[in-house]
Each structure stands twice: as structure tokens, then as C-alpha cells.
């Protein structure tokens, strides 16, 4: 069982997508003008689509300390500020979405097990719906998924800190099936990472 803290920007519908279950217990941290959450009780920090990256920049040092305790951060959003250690998301619109495809590159933990990557590529036959821009990944981090132009789209980073970063180039991830939604690729990818964290934490505690 993991304890996850979700950073909420108080935008419509967000908390409906994260319902506590037998794998994860969720706590919500609502951003405010003096945002300074206590991260210590948690195993993983979840920064979902639509997050406040000004607020995250202001707690950058706290996030770094959290990671250096061996804990995990998921960011499935476009972090335009520099709060994520070692990695930077960059918006880009120079490539045509109709040419966008994704390819599995390095997946040591089988995060894409049972994930149909075509679901991330196509929606109603249209491509380029899932991620935006790309990640300038830390040297040595695993690029799990790259796009048509070999740009990192999903990154797993165990080298920039003592913890683990799981990052998408603003490709949404969620735990929506417990809210009654279908278990689509972005749910499976998210849950595979959470299961990997559980296994990792069990190994550490032995």
C-alpha cells in the first residue's frame, strides 16, 4: 500500500480521477497562496495534468529533499518551471500532430506491460492527442517512450536523485477506473508504475 499526495490546483473534476483503492491511499493537497505541504508522510507525490507550476517551483527544495529520501514523484503535466530535478519539459509546436507516433525504448520495469501504445497514439483515428512537447531528459535517465523524432515523451529517472521520477510530456495519467471509468492505456501505465513502487518499497523494507 502506498500513501500518495496529489497536488490539486482546484480545477474542475480533478479529484474525481483519483479514488483510494487497495494499491494507493490518496490525500489531496490543495494549492493556496502560501502553499507549503508536509510531504513527509507520503511515498509518492502526484502532480497531475492542470497543475500549478509556480507553486511547485516555490517548493522545489522540499520536493528535492523528498526525492533524496528515496521517494517518488509522478509528473504527468507540462512543468514549464524548473522544479523537477534533472529534467525539463519543453512545449513545442514545430511538429505536425498527424505525424506523431510513440515508440517503446527502455522499459526495465515493464511499465508498458499490457499497455496498448496505439491507445496513446490514436483517438478516433487522430494522432497527437496525448502528450505535448517533449522532455529534455537527464543524462542517464531511462527514456521509456520516445516520439517520431526520438524526443523523450515518458521518462523514468533514478539517476538525478536518490529517489525515482516518473515523467510524461504532459500526457495525462490517472487512476480513474475506481471512479467507474474504463482501464485504458493511461490508467494501466500509471498503475504499472504504482505497482513497481510497491515492489520496490517491499524490497527496501526487507
Amino acid at each position: 500500500m502506498l500513501n500518495a499526495l496529489i497536488i490539486s490546483n482546484n480545477i474542475v473534476g480533478l479529484t474525481d480521477y483519483y479514488v483510494s483503492n487497495d494499491l494507493v491511499t490518496y490525500t489531496i493537497a490543495h494549492v493556496s497562496g502560501h502553499f507549503n505541504p508536509d510531504l513527509t508522510p507520503y511515498d509518492v507525490l502526484v502532480v497531475p495534468n492542470g497543475s500549478d507550476h509556480i507553486a511547485m517551483l516555490r517548493i522545489k527544495d522540499k520536493v528535492r529533499a523528498f526525492l533524496d529520501e528515496g521517494k517518488a514523484v509522478i509528473c504527468s503535466d507540462g512543468w514549464f518551471t524548473s522544479w523537477v530535478p534533472g529534467n525539463q519539459w519543453v512545449m513545442d509546436n514545430t511538429k505536425r500532430t498527424m505525424d506523431t507516433r510513440y515508440f517503446l525504448k527502455t522499459d526495465a520495469y515493464k511499465l508498458l506491460a499490457d499497455v496498448d501504445i496505439d491507445e496513446l497514439i490514436y483517438s478516433h483515428g487522430m494522432t497527437g492527442w496525448w502528450a505535448c512537447g517533449y522532455i529534455d531528459a537527464a543524462p542517464g535517465a531511462d527514456v521509456v517512450v520516445e516520439d517520431t523524432w526520438q524526443r523523450p515523451i515518458v521518462v523514468l529517472d533514478e539517476v538525478s536523485t536518490a529517489g525515482i521520477l516518473f515523467l510524461t510530456a504532459s500526457g495525462p495519467l490517472a487512476d480513474v477506473t475506481h471512479a467507474g471509468e474504463k482501464e485504458v492505456a493511461l490508467v494501466k501505465l500509471y498503475r504499472n508504475f504504482m505497482r513497481m513502487l510497491v515492489s520496490r518499497n517491499e524490497l527496501i523494507s526487507r
Partner: protein, 217 residues
Amino acid sequence: MQTIGLIFNGVWSHYAMATAPKYRAIYKLIYIYDLDVAAIEGLEALVIPFQSNQAELVARKSVIYNFLSQGKKVFVEGDSTADWLDAQWEDRPVNNYWWVDNPDNPPVSETNYDHPVYRGLTPRQACWHTHGVYTRIPDYADIVQSTPEGEVISWETNRYGGTLFATTLDPIVEHGVQQISHLDHYVDRLTEWLSGIKPAPGKMTIEKDLYGEGALV
């Protein structure tokens, strides 16, 4: 000169649009927690985008209506709450693919193309998708866009001194996301209506240096 205040809550799509070279000289990013009378002094218009922090807008309601009372413009997109807007927004499923699956049945069936924002736009440029509807709007407000079922998508009123325009379209967010290729048309018309300044023609571009350490925050 920056004459439009874009109220944002750290969301990347707001940032991407407002810092694009095409719009950067016109839009001033105002972090929601910094929104006060001084922050918007001298501006001609405010934009309150989809994915805003509604609770924080409620806390700053008087700042917004004081601005409107000076004869200025406020543009609200996406969702809202009746705690700060005299209207009732309701969620509805978003249909991103009507133009693929059912192109003869767009989410908006009626548009007032005489409105300055919509003048010269094609139906596809005037509606890509909607985020909910308004089931109640202020008395004497004008309906600008509605659905085939008669639900309100866009409306406008002058009852607060200036012009308040609300829509469940999301041009600012989607233009920042850049997955819909024709939004320069709508956003440029909107920008000119709000500010009197016509953005440079052509497609919006992005500057990589403004991401990361060089972010304009």
C-alpha cells in the same frame, strides 16, 4: 504594450499561449494569488481561462467587478461557479471528435457572426468543442452561441458597466495546447476585440528558452 491581463494559476497551457512571441507584448500573466486592484491597473481587459481556480476567483470577485465597472472587458472561458458569476454552468461530456464522427451535427448550431469576435470566422473556427453549458444567464444578457438543444454556450452582458463575455469554449487553453491547428483565427479575433491590437498574422510559435530556468515567472 500589455493591455490584457490573463489570470492564471500556474497551468502550462495558459503560460504557453501568453508567452508566445505573437501574444507576449499584449498579454500580461497575472498569478491568481497576486490578483488585486494594483495588478490590473491600466489594463483594458481580463481573461479568465478554463482550468482556473474558481475558489480563488470567488475570493477576488470584487476586484473583477470593480474592473468591469470602469467600462472594461472581461472574458471568461470554460467552467465557472455561480459564487462569482451570476449564471449557472453545468458540466457535459466533451465531444472532441464530432467533426470526425458526425460532422453534420456540431456541438454549436447557432452563432451570432455579427459579434466582433466571430465576424469572419467559419463554423469550425467558431466551435471546436465545448466544456459544459450555461443553464442560466443574467437577465438581459445576449446569447451569442447555443447548442442544437437550445443550451447556452456563449453569452454577453453590459450590465456591470463594461462588457462581460462568457463561453464554455476554451480558446486560450487549447491554443496553448496547440493540438487544434486553426485557433489562431479565434484567438486573434478575441485579442483584437479585447485590446484593440491585432496580433501579427500567422501561426503561433513557441520559444524554448522560456521553459525551465528562463521561465517568465
